[in-house]
Amino acid sequence: MTGLFSDTFLAALLFGAVTAAIPLLLAGLGEQMSEKAGVLNIGIEGMMIAGAYVGFVCAFYSGSLWVGFLAGAAGGMVVAALMSLLCVRLGLNQIVIGIALTLGLEGLTALLYHFQFSRSYPRLPAAETLAVPLLSDIPLFGPALFRHHLIVYLAVAMVGVMAWLYRRTQFGLNLQAAGDKPAALDVAGIDVIRTRTVAVLFSGGMAGLGGAYLSNVGAGLFIPFITNGAGFLGIVLAMLARGRPIWVLIGAMIFGGCLSMTTAAQVAGVNVPIDVIQMLPFLAVMAMLVLFGRRASLPAALGIPYERGAR
């Protein structure tokens, strides 16, 4: 167990934690808005893998990560548009449609990847990092936390943007009303369907962006099923965060830390079977659910399609 707690190990662990946390954070923030508006977006895993694939393909051919990110977000949004058509406008069951979208897109992206790249296994060059002046010179934490791609800082900044949106804008009120009492929003003269659609599209965009980060920056390549449950973890985060973006960030860092630990522990040669180590993040999920699951307070109308004047 040499060097398990050395500075380099800890720095690598922290760096990996941030890298692993960003997709979770983005998916979690997206899911949070969708849930706030009353739509349980189970399809977020599918939106994420769509973003990962489209983002990778576009980054690969254009040579620009930013094109990849934008394309990834757009890819997630296209899937979300389908979800909002089926679940918000037509009022179909959100859970069934969400699962179907996820399974369908996992299969579709695996198939497309197989046709396009199964002989070449292309990789993207390592992403450029942006060192934050001064902060990145702090020993241990500097390199771990402040030498990342620009998108990482933007993702963290989104936490503040979301908090502002929820607490300070009319749109934030509308979202909460759409989730807690859609009929009240409707009689106030705001279109519930439109509000929910916007929220679902946003969640799809965020999930797609998270997926694109996962393939373009985290891995530098696409492999089938690369999201590996990150979208579902995002759902857990959103549910535990009680509507507060900062808790999504904290939760994402905890899960990210666990994911990073699995890699780091393998690298460090800890003498434990690899399967046990790979279970770690999911044990953490269960532990968090046991500890905080009761605290989760979900919108009253979550998962219930809105139909005006239903009786």
Binding site: T169, Q170, A177, K181, A184, V187, A188, G189, I190, A300
Partner: protein, 514 residues
């Protein structure tokens, strides 16, 4: 139409609204004028809430027109209703419990803006102050009393420049003091030139607060008392007139026809001392005793929700009782299951035709035999015999004149009258001796109501005992031999159906001595 009076804010012209199985509003005409508290009075199921739903843009009429300031207008959505100046305070409040009062009032602004809480506070002070309403904008809605929430909703409607304020069952959750306050508030509103529509099922509130009273009954408007008339008569005369509208006979209804029965003392269905403990929102049953002879129809009258459903379900065996005995002929039914009671000949036709009586997605044919599933000849060794089912089902469809496209049509697609026919066919089959009807014509159109009533008379003529529970007094008067009145889970009197019975029953129903 008045020639000197200004155009009403809202006019309903023969508005009709149907839901699967029932007609909620049947050609309702209504005029709503500025400066008037217009009371819509009617029992549960009279169609008041549906009417409000159409005025507030939640539902669209199937037939008829709504005129706003004399112009035919289709109210497309709640926001459209608001822009037309129609503000509604719903029976179930429409505030988001997790937001503050101020935030609730801010809902509906432009999405990119900050909620203009300061501006709202100013406007609330301007609107609420003169009306004597005090509200704390920073309080979370879930922490307010129901009366306070209602005031918030009234203020919200006024903030939107409503000219017409609709209050749906606004007093149902208020304390007596809150009701008085609301009455005073409505008075101040109409004095300022607003129109108020006040929906209630309480006669006393209609008499106390109304400038104009319209009475709804089973989806139809059965009477209106104009302001001139209302000022001309005293309160007692007014109450009497409203009682007449709610419970009296209307022109154009069918004649009274009580099926003849042989005079005998033999009792068929005997019930004594039936008890059910009250629960949260039901009054329970207390010492219910009655008996019904061969070929006799005993009516049970009462305002809805006084234990009628509990009584029917206790007799049918669907609800556990805390005491009392039930005998059918020589057979004690106490403690027997629903199925055993059915075998002995006791049948129950529920008022919840689609929810409880039938399986909406199943074909008509299967619904005929729902209570015989697994039994021969329709099932043998657990296998469905579709030949038998179709043959017998076809007979029943012809015999009971069920209008269905086919035997395979899901029953939920049929009209209420036809669903009722299927239920009657099913329950009368094979050895029925006593039949309990719960609101058998609720939500049916006139033709089907008449057909159902005739069917009930026929059943009695065949010698069965009939217990007819109904909130429609004139239905009871048209065919019952005796009428019992239920109130708060007790039978407060049984009246022989002789001339003048209607007045006596009506007085018992509203808590006056017969």
């Amino acid at each position: 139409m008045g020639t000197q009076a200004p155009t009403p804010i809202v006019t309903l012209d023969a508005v009709t609204k149907r839901f699967p199985g029932i007609i909620a509003n049947d050609k309702v005409d209504l005029e709503i004028r500025a400066g008037e508290v217009h009371v819509l009075l009617g029992e549960n199921g009279a169609g008041k809430s549906t009417l409000i739903g159409m005025l507030s843009g939640l539902q669209q009429p199937d037939d008829g027109r709504i005129l706003i300031d004399g112009v035919a207008t289709s109210i497309r959505s709640p926001s459209h209703a608001l822009s037309l100046g129609i503000g509604t305070v719903f029976q179930h409040n429409m505030l988001v419990p997790t937001l503050t009062v101020g935030e609730n009032l801010a809902l509906g602004g432009r999405w990119w803006q900050r909620p203009k809480l300061a501006e709202i506070a100013e406007r609330v002070a301007a609107v609420a102050g003169p009306l004597g309403i005090k509200i704390n904008l920073d309080a979370r809605v879930s922490e307010l009393s129901l009366g306070e929430q209602q005031q918030v909703e009234i203020v919200r409607a006024l903030l939107r420049d409503s000219r017409l304020l609709i209050l749906d069952e606004a007093t149902s959750m208020l304390t007596p003091h809150g009701v008085t306050e609301l009455g005073a508030l409505m008075r101040r509103l109409v004095e300022r030139g607003f129109a108020v529509v006040f929906i209630t099922h309480k006669l006393s509130e209609a008499a106390d607060f109304g400038d104009r009273v319209s009475v709804l009954k089973l989806g139809r408007k059965v009477g209106e008392i104009t302001p001139e008339r209302l000022r001309a008569i005293d309160r007692d005369a007014l109450v009497a007139e409203i009682v007449g509208m709610m419970f009296g006979r209307q022109a154009g209804e069918e004649a009274v026809s009580i099926p003849p029965r042989a005079d005998n003392d033999e009792r068929l269905l005997e019930v004594s001392g039936l008890e059910i403990a009250p629960s949260g929102d039901t009054p329970g049953l207390h010492g219910i005793s009655f008996d019904i002879g061969h070929g006799e129809i005993l009516g049970v009258a009462g305002i809805d929700g006084n234990g009628q459903k509990q009584l029917a379900e206790a007799l049918a065996g669907q609800r556990a009782t805390a005491g009392g005995r039930i005998r059918l002929g020589q057979q004690a039914l106490d403690g027997l299951t629903v199925g055993a009671r059915r075998k002995h000949g006791l049948r129950y036709l529920t008022d919840d035709r689609l929810g409880e009586g039938t399986v909406g997605a199943f074909p008509v044919s299967i619904n005929f035999f729902l209570k015989q599933i697994g039994e021969p000849p329709f099932w043998r060794s657990g296998i469905e015999r579709s030949g038998e089912i179709v043959a017998r089902g076809g007979d029943l469809v012809r015999q009971y004149d069920v209008r269905t496209p086919s035997l395979a049509t899901p029953i939920g697609r049929l009209s209420g009258g036809n669903i009722q026919k299927v239920l009657i066919a099913r329950e009368l089959a094979d050895g029925a001796r006593a039949v309990i009807f719960n609101k058998p014509t609720y939500g049916l159109d006139l033709a089907n109501s008449l057909a159902t009533r005739q069917r009930i008379r026929d059943i009695a003529s065949e010698g069965m005992a009939v217990l007819l529970i109904s909130t429609d007094l004139e239905e009871l008067l048209s065919m019952c031999h005796r009428i019992a009145v239920i109130s708060e889970g007790r039978l407060v009197g049984i009246v022989d159906n002789t001339p003048g019975a209607g007045e006596r029953v009506g007085r018992l129903m509203i808590g006056l001595a017969a």
